[in-house]
Structures are given as structure tokens and as C-alpha cells.
């Protein structure tokens, strides 16, 4: 990643920040966390809970960042950086927002309850949060223009993908959450396969989104 790539990613971070379209997903996430921390579970449960919300939130943020730049402005950016780099920078910026939310979730989880299982719980929790953020960006990338140009269908698809990735048996997100919620006070079994599978899913989704953006903005 060169300084120019960083500059493009930074442009997208600031674009979303100034557009205020981050506000609904972040508020949604904050409310979800507030409800949870009031209940007072164990840290493992708190990690699982925040990770589960991170998936739709990060899909939402990704869709927001990919739809916030008007077509003419996007053509300017794509001309200067090339369409591939522009799209990857936007997706990286969305991942950055997701990771920031994950960090807050982790702090809240660490602060809420007792920490049975110690380091193993923290490791599994953080990894599950990371997996959920990544899968969220995958869901957002697949449901944003130009793959899905209509806003309504895009939101619907993002929602269904997020739900599917949370409940599907072999989804890496579900693996991590299951490991956390079934620990029952003991150290959770770290789901080894979750992160690699998530990375593959993300690579495929980002590639599809980028390939579509290269052809058409």
C-alpha cells in the first residue's frame, strides 16, 4: 500500500464521515451494545453478541460508503486512481469503520463481565469480531451498485446475506459465535477454520464488486 493508496482510502473515510451516512448503522450498533451491557453476561457472551451485530452493521457501512459518492465524482476518482484501486480503497475504508466498531465492542465486552477462559476467550472473541466485520464488508460489497443498482433490492440482499452468514452452519461467523456461546465459563475452542474461510469469502466478494465497478460505475 503506497501513500497514494492511503490517500484514496482516507478520502473515502472522510467522505463517509462528512456525509453523515455512518450515523444510522453506528447508532444501531451503539444501541445494541448498550442493551447488552445492561444485562451483565460473561465476556464470551458479550463478544458473541457484539460480533453478531457487527456483521449487519459492517455490511450497512460498506453499502453506505459504496453508494455515497455521486457518479461524476466517482468517475473523477476512478480516473485518477484507476477503477480497481478506487473500489479497493473504498472497501478498505469501510473495513476501517467496521474495525473501529469492533474495537468498541471488544472494550465493552472486556469491561462488562467476568473473563472466564482468559486469553483464549479474548482471542476467540477478537477473531470472531474480525471475521464478522470482514464478512459484513463482503455482504455489503455484493449488495451495492453496480452489482445491485437499485437501493431497495440492495438493502434487502444485504440484510438476507447478513442473516444467512450469521445462521448458516458452516459460516465462519457462526463458527466463532458458537464457540463463544457454548463455552459456558470454560475456555472456548478457537475455530481454526473461521478466519481463513472468511478471508476467502471476502476476497471473492471484493473481487466481484471490483470487477463490476471496473466495467461500470
Amino acid at each position: 500500500m503506497t501513500t497514494r493508496d492511503a490517500a484514496v482510502a482516507r478520502y473515502y473515510v472522510v467522505l463517509l464521515a462528512r456525509s453523515q451516512r455512518w450515523l444510522p448503522p453506528v447508532l444501531f450498533y451503539a444501541i445494541a451494545l448498550a442493551i447488552d451491557s445492561a444485562a451483565g453476561d460473561s465476556a464470551a457472551d458479550a463478544f458473541a453478541y457484539s460480533a453478531a451485530f457487527l456483521l449487519p452493521v459492517s455490511a450497512w457501512l460498506t453499502r453506505a460508503i459504496l453508494t455515497t459518492e455521486p457518479a461524476e465524482a466517482a468517475a473523477i476518482t476512478a480516473t485518477v486512481t484507476g477503477p480497481v484501486r478506487a473500489r479497493l480503497a473504498a472497501l478498505s475504508a469501510a473495513t476501517g469503520y467496521g474495525l473501529l466498531c469492533a474495537l468498541v465492542g471488544a472494550i465493552v465486552a472486556g469491561a462488562t463481565g467476568a473473563l472466564p477462559g482468559g486469553g483464549s476467550t479474548v482471542l476467540t472473541g477478537l477473531s470472531t469480531e474480525l471475521v464478522c466485520v470482514l464478512l459484513g464488508t463482503a455482504a455489503g460489497a455484493l449488495s451495492a451498485p453496480p452489482l445491485v443498482p437499485a437501493a431497495g433490492w440492495g438493502v434487502l440482499l444485504a440484510g438476507l446475506l447478513a442473516l444467512g452468514l450469521l445462521v448458516a452452519r458452516f459460516s465462519p461467523a457462526a463458527m466463532g459465535i458458537r464457540a463463544l456461546t457454548t463455552a459456558n465459563g470454560a475456555a472456548p475452542h478457537y475455530p481454526l477454520a473461521a478466519l481463513p474461510i472468511a478471508l476467502v469469502v471476502v476476497a471473492v466478494a471484493w473481487a466481484a464488486s471490483t470487477a463490476a465497478a471496473v466495467r461500470r460505475q
Binding site: T3, R4, A7, V8, R10, Y11, V14, L15, R18, S19, Q20, E69, P70, A71, E72, A73, A74, A75, I76, T77, A78, T79, V80, T81, G82, P83, V214, R215, R216, Q217
Partner: protein
Amino acid sequence: MRLSAVGYRYGWRAPWVLGRVDLDLQSGDLVRIGGYNGSGKSTLMRIIAGAHRPGRGTVTGRPQNVAYVPGQLPPLPFKAHDYLRHFGRINGLSGEEAEERALSWLERFEALSYRKHRIGDLSRGTAQKVAIIQALLAEPELLILDEAWTSLDAFGQQTLDEVARETTRRGGRVVFVDHDPERLADDATAAYVLRDGLLHQASAVDFEMPLVLIDLENAPDPWPGPGRGRMLADEVMRIEVEPDGSDQLLHEILSMHRGIHVLSVRTVDGRAIEAGKQQQGAKQGQGQGQGQQQSVPKQSERGREEQDRGGRGRAERQQSAIPRTSVPQQSRRQP
């Protein structure tokens, strides 16, 4: 830089907007591209710029440093100079250098006092200046101007003309689309017209070429001729035909093809479509003394607008143009 057999369509089953475009761009070239609305000019401009890849064909030898100016900068949530600083850095400049260049360009376009305004709050012309300056920050080797003059005041238009000339003099390439047929007419090294997805070599006369447009319902697709047929939305077939052949064609349609319904017939000339817009622009810009002075003489020449009936002779069309233009200007042009 070279475009070879470039084609583009918006979907797998959509028709090719660009059929097969070949274009050679040498260092120092200043190339004009014309064509009717919806002929695919903007799509072609974005492909040349590299913002899109073509659906088929290849683009080779595009220089490193490319910049694109759209017809309008949409309301982005940035302050003007923040936006420019971002693009300076994206272009690989340091923060200070970006700032410095942005300020000097803002000054040259007389927009320095607007640098702290949000782009969404700027007038269209000032926002357009920001879009132009964004493109000039890194001295582009390829500059794409897609109707970049449209909402500028007379001074801004003049400055952009100068900038285009400077870019070619520096060894860059400039490709532009503009409604004004006089735009950079003396400097352009080549002019093309985009028609039916193909790029045709054009001379200045081409932009004046009168055409009759006949819209038909229930017409066979593809159109067997004479004239060039093109399917519009709602099953309407638009035929473009030279005025000489239009009466004959209408006669044939009405007498021989009973099923075909003629929706409308009108004459346009290359300039006429554009003149309508230019006139509106001139009206808006009349508060600015400079703008009036410069745009009116062109106006009188270009004051012809789309007409509702086809098949009229050229003389008659010019006559009807006279009331639209101011008399003193007219007499000065034709003493």
C-alpha cells in the same frame, strides 16, 4: 495512446452504445468529439479517461497522469479546498504542495474566496471550477473535458480554453466535448462525431450539418433505409435523414407503409440542438457584463433552434432565426 475497436454496452443484453471506436491520441493533440445527446460521448470520454474499461477492444498507451472533468461537480460534503487537498494527495503531491497549487489555481479561476465553502453550497459555476482545478493539480498528460465549460462564466470559459491550449503545448493530450461549435475551433487538431456508436472524422462543417429527425411508431427494426434509423425508448424509431431526402422519405412512409405512424418531424442542425442550451445559458449569465459581450456575437450565428416542421429550405430556416437574435449584431455580421 490508442483505442482499438472499443465497444461498450451497459448490460449483457443491452445494445452496444459504442460499436467499434478507433482513436489515436498523440502528444500535443487537442481532439474534439461531437454527437447528439445520448450518442455515447460521455461513456467514450470515461473509457478514454480510464474510469471504465471497455466491454470489448483495447486501450493502450494511456499516460500515467490522467485527469477528467465532468460537466458538473455533484454536491459533495467537502469544503472546496479540502476536496482539492485530497486530490492533490491522491495525485501523489505532498500536503503543502497540493495546498499551494490548489490556491494558485483557485486564484487564476477567480474562485479563491470560495475555498472555505462546502461544494454543495457553491454555485454550479464555482463548483465546476473546483472540478477543473482538481484535474489540473498534477499537470495531466491526458486531460478529458466532458462539457466542462457548461456552467462557467465567460472568464472561466476563457481560462479553461487557455488551460487546454497550455496542456497541449506542454505535450499533453486534450479530448473535449462541448456544445459550442466555436470552442477551441482554431486549436483543435482533430474533430470527430460519434454517431450510431461509431466515430466519424468530422470537420467544422459537420457540426452545422442540418438533419431531419422523423419519429415513427410501428416502424420495422432495423430500419431498411433510406436514412439512419435508431430505436428509442417506447418503441419509437427515430430516422435521421438529410433535408433533401426528407420529403421523399415522408411521402414513401405515408403512401406505402400503412401501419407506420409518424409521431413528429423536425429539423435540427448540428448547432441547433446546442443553440437552445447556449441561449438559456446566456440568459442566466447576463448579469455578468463580460459574459454578454462575448457570448452574443456567437449567439447570432447560432441562434437557430430546433424547429417543428421538417423539409423547409435553408433560406427559410435562416430567416426564422433572425427574430431570435439582436438586430445590431446581425447587421454587424452581415453588413
